[in-house]
Amino acid sequence: MNTQFKRGVVEMLVLKVVKDQPRSSYDVIDTLSKRIDVNENTVYPILRRLTKQGYFETKTQASLVGAPRKVYSITGIGEQKLDAFLEEWAEFLEEVLTILGGDNHE
């Protein structure tokens, strides 16, 4: 699959899993890699970039094991970005499924 395309999808998924609940960077990587064949080492840079862009905010949270953890949570503009992503994705999927589903497309 096209790398750029895959990065875009991973970006959307990172936004979604952090929206579902605030998570540490390891938790984000772990959650995604358990469900899909994702290139783990690309997740952390994406997480950092999205934070720099203001889509996430971080706070330190006490941990049961070891040092306190940095936890990412989604911001207002992060949610807007995710909504836009999901809308775009739904339209894209609909078109793809239309094409794959029959011959009546142009």
Binding site: S24, Y26, E40, N41, P45, R48, S63, G66, K70
Partner: protein, 366 residues
Amino acid sequence: MNDYLQNLETMLDRFIMHSDEKHDIMEDYKAMIEEAKASGLTDDEVIEKLGSVDAIYQAMKPEYRLKKKIANSEKWIALSPFIALIIFFFVGFQYEAWHPGWMAFLLIPLTAIIVEGINHDSEFKLTALMPFLSVIAFVLLGIYTGAWHPAWLVFLSIPMMGIIESSKEKRDSGPYIGTTVFLSIIVFFLVGYFTGVYTPTWVILLTPILFDLFFFNGKKNHYIVGSSLLVSMGLYSYLGLYVTSWPIALLAFMVFIVVGLITGHVTIVINTNHRYGVLLKISFAISLVLFLLLGYLYDAYQLTWLFVLLTPMFSIVLTETRRRWTALSPFVAIITFMLIGFFLDGWAYAWLVFLLIPMVAIIEGD
């Protein structure tokens, strides 16, 4: 895991990043490793989960700029003004060549373009270099040979290089035909300059059509039309030189037109639905009459053909509302170029009017 973290830190040093950010990333990885190990993963499994240092480097590359390469580049760019100044003073004091010694300052943009072009593997680095190289070639040719005209032709290397570099990945013939247009202009002016003959050598300007028909299409009827154009060109030259006047010799191109009509290469479109169709036909008729009449009366066909440009200009004025001046600018530039060249013998600087085209496009752009 210490080796892993150490390698990670060394790898991060290759990027331009604030020490706080580097520290932050290192802390994040330490926390991720701790969390991964707490979940029961072995060292190897942790590395597999987080990615090897090399894989992380590859993943981070799009997000950060590389330090070493940029630092070296910036050194050269930063040094170039001083080098230019030294050359300028040396050439000026030693050889009293302040002019064209000033061209040493062109080293500054040249260095920046070359260095950045190499760093970013720019597809258009030669196109970006051409304006500066053209200025150098133009000034040197002008000063040392006095031939400002046709030295200005070197500026045509700019669009040519642009076409060549933009067509590297493409396989269609369009860009190559584009370069033949510029080549034909160069050859036409060079032949004219060295022989003083512009008629019938203007037929050189038709060679892009021949290139297209003979080398980029490969269909049988293209060869037929191409041959008919060759015959017309030859016949035109023969008739003009030995039989009749040049305007009448133009009838030789009827061979090309008739063959083109038969093969469908030449089509006559009469758009009766066009809102200004009648007006445009009248303007075309008037411009044709002016071309032939004034050309005949003053023997100035080399200039009166400009009247033919009035019809497309008129059409633009009537129909183009959004970017009218941008569309008109090539015509205005050609007319101004020819008028300055012929009446003021100012070929050397007349080419500058072609800069009007991008300037108008920028001003009128969104």
